[in-house]
């Protein structure tokens, strides 16, 4: 089975072969890959080197925490990649980014208004949780659309807060 796995800007062609072998960009490795007691903790021996990682799914991406570094990986087969590439080129321009609550909390402030132009890094909302005031910032420039919460609202984790167009 052949996959294209993207980490950051770099694409890796990963092929899963028989007999515990995996090839990455044409180089073949002997891999002993095991889940540790059913947890998202994995141990892998690659040609004798021992690695341990925590691997979680986050929507259609994989988060790999390996030796203190977090990698975000997209794993696709060739068909999936082609499909995404075709649809993605349009979506990137017109897509609305939905800001979601990363944790449950209390909305203490919404310093932006609908229709307002914001820059990357501008504070869109302040959420109080775990005795902290947490600033949720714009991941990119855009125009604020559909603010769905007001100051004083309690929100759930992953609740949609506002859109950025």
């Amino acid at each position: 089975m052949k996959y294209i796995t993207t980490i950051g800007e770099k694409e890796y062609e990963v092929e899963i072969l028989a007999n515990n072998q995996v090839s990455v960009d044409g180089v073949t490795y002997h891999v002993d890959f095991q889940s540790v007691s059913g947890q998202p903790v994995f141990t892998m021996l690659v040609d004798g080197k021992s690695y341990e990682a925590h691997i979680y799914r986050e929507e259609d991406l994989w988060q790999v925490l390996l030796r203190g570094t977090l990698f975000t990986a997209r794993v696709e087969d060739e068909r999936e990649k082609r499909l995404r590439a075709e649809s993605g080129s349009q979506a990137a321009e017109s897509g609305e980014h939905i800001l979601k609550a990363p944790m449950p909390g209390l909305v203490v402030k919404v310093p932006v208004e609908e229709g307002e132009q914001v820059e990357k890094g501008d504070v869109l909302l302040i959420l109080e949780s775990m005795k902290m005031q947490n600033e949720l910032k714009a991941p990119r420039a855009g125009i604020v659309r559909r603010i769905r919460v007001s100051e004083g609202d309690n929100v759930e984790q992953r609740e949609a807060l506002l859109g950025l167009e």
């Binding site: 089975m1 996959y3 796995t5 980490i7 950051g8 770099k10 890796y12 990963v14 899963i16 995996v22 990455v24 490795y29 891999v31 890959f33 007691s37 059913g38 947890q39 998202p40 903790v41 994995f42 892998m44 690659v46 690695y51 990682a53 925590h54 691997i55 799914r57 994989w62 790999v64 925490l65 390996l66 030796r67 203190g68 570094t69 977090l70 990698f71 990986a73 794993v75 990363p102 944790m103 449950p104 909390g105 949780s129 775990m130 005795k131 902290m132 947490n134 600033e135 949720l136 910032k137 984790q157």
Partner: protein, 505 residues
């Protein structure tokens, strides 16, 4: 006072820490808990445990009346407040005294004297102790008065909440133009956090370190200090990593003794009893200025325990029982080096936003020279109601270098699944040349550190991550294909459950 049962008016790791001290002294420990904490470790480890109320602190851990009532009912003779919550409320210490419960902490008057930052600064200034130049001890000043005083002190300045702590109601002011707006913001935040909108001004010292001195004082007039802790590694005025000794002081015992003497005098100036900490700002020229006194046990107390061999919590209890200190100043020896990393449920890759959820897997580092203080375990929920501290990893080594190496291996062993943690932040920090060289001040993390920059020069293994993620994705894909196939054929629930179990074993 004599007592053999202690109520711990707190939760989380510090409640567990205090229960341990009680048990090691052969005393009974009474826990209190909110509805969110029924299965928390402090409830499970205590001899007795009583419900306070709903999850919100105001309805549980801040309910003085209920806590005192439970203490009386359970026959506890003393209350240990831990840190946070009621620890620095003089009215709570007062209420304990009135009910003839030993408060394991200072007298209400000491808490009051140090609780108002303005009064505290005036008090220690009177005792001849240097403070950072500012509007100390002038009571509640209006914006107008502050604007007038500001140029006399000189910019940059810090506006700080009079009732404050923990970085709340604090603003940096670079010039007179931005001052009115920032004062306004600081007052609003202070009002929200402490119910008191008063602020004062303090000169912002450049390249300063935050170094604090642990003191112990008994009821017989003995006051000693246990050396310093270096706490300059902060982010938004929240400490993240502490060490003892300070690499800035290190072998300069004469300087250590000078700071220690001033700390002891500060405690004496307010008739202090029990454990407390005097925080100083120290500039490059080794001038030091009183910042504030924490009239309670501190999060970072274990590093002092590691280098001195003194159990601070046990000493606190001894002191509250009216005993003499078990050590004299000349017996206090700092041996080796200790570092503490605060492990918080927050995402260092996403602006340190807090992370909540169930901890499905919690495997702590162990072995020589490693201590972990925590209140969580497999299956515990990190809720949004309380602070984000999951645990403290404390290591001891013969030298600072050995302690750093040991901390690295401990963090590498530490495995927490279910919430994001700041462990990668600590790992990156411990790799920084300037950190290793001990060259940092309180602005280091905010001004000179970023996760991205730190990871640029690190040997990482993206191709291994690619293999891992692909294998997990592949396994998931194969499994779901299989489940669909099986689901079509299989009708017995029992077989299903069996399979599910095997899959997740």
């Amino acid at each position: 006072m004599t007592f053999n049962k202690v109520l711990i008016a707190n939760r989380g790791e510090i409640a567990v820490r205090i229960i341990r001290a009680c048990h090691e002294l052969g005393m009974k420990a009474v826990a209190v808990f909110s509805e969110a904490d029924r299965k928390a470790l402090h409830v499970r480890h205590a001899d007795e445990a009583y419900l306070l109320g709903p999850a919100a602190s105001s309805e549980s851990y801040l309910r003085m009346d209920k806590i005192i009532e439970i203490a009386k009912k359970s026959g506890a003779g003393a209350i240990h407040p831990g840190y946070g919550f009621l620890a620095e409320r003089s009215e709570f210490a007062q209420a304990c005294a009135e009910e003839e419960l030993a408060f394991i902490g200072p007298e209400p008057s000491s808490i009051t004297a140090m609780g108002d930052k303005g009064i505290a600064r005036a008090t220690v200034t009177d005792a001849g102790i240097p403070v950072v130049p500012g509007t100390e001890g002038e009571g509640s000043l209006s914006d107008e008065e502050l604007l007038k005083l500001a140029p006399e002190i000189g910019f940059p300045l810090l506006a700080k909440a009079t009732a404050g702590g923990g970085g709340k109601g604090m603003r940096e002011i670079r010039n007179i133009e931005e001052m009115p707006g920032l004062l306004n913001a600081a007052r609003r935040e202070a009002e929200a956090a402490f119910g008191d909108g008063n602020v004062y001004l303090e000169k912002l010292l450049k390249n300063a370190r935050h170094i604090e001195i642990q003191i112990l004082a008994d009821q017989h007039g003995n006051v000693i200090h246990l050396g310093e802790r270096e706490c300059s590694i902060q982010r938004r005025h929240q400490k993240l990593l502490e060490e003892s000794p300070s690499p800035f002081i290190n072998e300069d015992n004469e300087f250590r003794e000078r700071m220690g003497d001033v700390a002891v005098r500060t405690a004496q100036a307010v008739g202090y009893v029990n454990a407390g900490t005097i925080e100083f700002l120290v500039d490059k020229e080794k001038r030091f200025y009183f910042l504030e006194m924490n009239t309670r046990l501190q999060v970072e107390h274990p590093i002092t325990e590691a280098v001195t061999g003194i159990d601070i919590v046990k000493e606190q209890i001894r002191i509250a029982r009216g005993r003499q200190l078990s050590i004299r100043q000349e017996d206090v020896k700092m041996n080796g080096w200790a570092i503490e990393c605060r492990v918080n449920a927050e995402d260092p890759y996403n602006d340190f936003l807090p992370s909540t959820g169930f901890i499905t897997h919690h495997s702590v580092p162990t072995g020589p020279g490693v201590r972990v203080d925590t209140g969580v375990y497999d299956g515990f929920e990190v809720s949004p109601y309380y602070d984000s501290l999951i645990s403290k990893v404390i290591v001891w080594g013969n030298t600072r270098g050995q302690a750093i190496l040991r901390m690295r291996r401990a963090l590498e062993e530490y495995s927490i699944v279910g919430v994001m943690t700041n462990i990668p932040f600590h790992q990156n920090l411990l790799d920084q040349t300037r950190f290793i060289a001990g060259q940092f001040d309180t602005r280091f993390v905010e001004e000179r550190f970023s996760m991205e920059k730190a990871e640029q020069n690190k040997e990482t293994h993206p191709e291994i991550a690619a293999i891992l993620s692909t294998l997990v994705a592949h396994t998931e894909f194969e499994r779901s294909a299989q489940i669909i196939q099986r689901g079509e054929r299989d009708t017995s629930n029992w077989k299903w459950v069996g399979r599910w179990e095997r899959m997740h074993r």
